[in-house]
Amino acid sequence: MSAQAQKRASFADYAPAATGVGTVLAFFLIMELLVQTGMVNRFIVPPPSEIIGSFGRVIVEEHVFSRFLQTLIECLTAGVMLTVFGVAGGVVMNRYKLLQQACETWVAAMASAPIVLMYPLFLVIFGRSAWTIIMMGFLAALPPVILKTIEGISGTRKVLVNVGRSFNLTPSQQFWKILFPAALPNIFVGIRLGLIFALINIVGVEFLINYGGLGQLINDLAERYDLAGTYAAICFVILVSVLFFMVLEKIERWLRPVD
């Protein structure tokens, strides 16, 4: 490969990331300008420079890393649970058509239910512990994983299923070698959606019941009218989300190396 082609290839590799970072920076610059010129009220949205300046304080004084870790572990636990139970649920529902016909609408309806409002019930069942938060995140995130798994498996191309049959594959082999790999893209879409729901609910419940994590920190800082600190803490929530999506992307590439 010529040096010029190599240079072009490496630019192509970094271009998306560079564009992403550039867009964020441009957004911050525009916000800074709007706030500094008074077009956006600085007592509602603090200037990004102030938010960046508050990071050190939030990290040192508010023990943000232990809170970050707590939220991360809660999300990870909910994520693992929703992957295992969501995918298994989708597979079972797809396998037993009566079950699918009976429950699919209910599962879809559950996706739009405001489960977060049921936190007093969860407090009774799981106590005032991280399990209340994890279970609420898990349940709220379950429907998209189940539905996308069903969609992925039932959408497998007929020709692939027929190939499996022609090789006399057992039902188990048919599932692991044909249906599951074919359904993976949809399953990952479901997990991604599920993780978004889980994270929103986990941080929301931490905020509501004042139990550790970044949600509680956001509540505390907002009550103290520390706007810059509040937005800095929200940035850490975004960081949790970014970490999860990066890990998920790696897992997806590992499971589907062909793509």
Partner: protein, 317 residues
């Protein structure tokens, strides 16, 4: 017929020339925690026609906490904020937010602490037990700290959120002593499910502290000082009315919070002495300032000049 037409024409002409009827001044406000006796002052005064008498029409929006109440005042979406935590108001002011305190909303607190455990009768019995407060930096946390310090307790404070979630945690044995603000929990007390262990005013420190305030947007205060003065006049009159022997106020409050009249009367007579809602003075500033610094609401205590600028209570006339 000709006369009738003439009269009708004259009436239409007179109506057209008369112009619009003189309108009251509209005040928009956020109020924390709907249903408490101390946050019902504007509702009850308005229902009794007191604000109308002073040429004021109120638009009341209830919120669930101090931060939610304060933010719209700062942004100018509403003019007044009622039941804003004193520490929160100090924090906002110290960061340059356009907000001023124009009255005390609660000096001392009517909050009470309860349990379902018959062995816990007084605060002394809470040693080694868990005792609830709402959230970090809240007034209930200050009360619990005051309890522990004044009564030399070894109770373990625990954040449990709002009165409803706190009751759940107490009834399911996750916390020994919960907190509530009346009328919440009175039904359970009357049914014998829980009993009162202490009231916030049992702590000397709390009795002498203004924990919540009435705030106004600075621009509104500067441009419409007469409206602010009239509002505070009507607010004071409303308080006098609420503590008068007029039975209508108890009827209105009972209807407002959907409780029996006897319970509504109990809320006022047992939990809210008139001194709690006295708006004329912010008291306990020194201890409040110390607390504000300790809880990181403000980096350093406000100076005398800053305090004077922040607190601008229209004098009683």
């Amino acid at each position: 017929m000709k006369h009738l037409r003439l009269i009708a024409g004259a009436t239409v002409l007179a109506a057209a020339l008369a112009g619009p009827a003189s309108a009251d001044d509209l005040i928009k406000m956020t109020i924390g925690q709907r249903g408490n006796w101390d946050t019902a002052i504007t509702h009850l005064g308005d229902k009794a026609g007191i604000f109308k008498k002073h040429g004021l029409t109120l638009e009341m929006i209830y919120t669930s906490g101090s931060g939610e109440t304060l933010q719209p005042v700062i942004s100018g979406s509403v003019d007044f904020g009622l039941a804003v935590g004193t520490l929160g108001a100090m924090a906002a002011y110290s960061k340059g937010a356009p907000v001023r305190i124009i009255g005390a909303q609660a000096t001392g607190a009517a909050d009470y602490w309860y349990t379902k455990n018959p062995a816990i009768k007084t605060l002394k019995d809470t040693d080694g037990k868990t005792i609830a407060f709402s959230s970090q930096g809240s007034s209930t946390q200050s009360v619990v700290r005051a309890f522990i310090s004044e009564f030399k307790l070894t109770a373990k404070p625990q954040a449990t959120g709002n009165p409803a979630t706190t009751l759940t945690t107490v009834m399911t044995d996750q916390v020994d002593v919960g907190w509530a603000a009346p009328p919440f929990g009175l039904k359970e007390i009357e049914e014998g499910k829980i009993h009162i262990v202490a009231k916030a005013t049992d702590a000397t420190l709390v009795r002498g502290q203004t924990i919540r305030t009435v705030v106004v947007n600075t621009a509104f205060l500067e441009k419409r000082k007469d409206v602010v003065d009239r509002f505070m006049k009507a607010y004071r009159e409303s308080i006098d009315y609420m503590y008068s022997d007029n039975p209508q106020v108890i009827k209105d409050y009972a209807e407002f919070v959907k409780v029996p009249e006897a319970m509504a009367k109990r809320v006022r007579d047992e939990f809210f002495p008139k001194a709690i809602v006295d708006p004329d003075k912010i008291v306990g500033l020194d201890s409040l300032m110390e607390e504000a610094v300790n809880l990181k609401f403000i980096p350093t205590p406000l100076t005398k000049a800053q305090t004077d600028e922040l607190i601008q209570i229209p004098p009683r006339k």
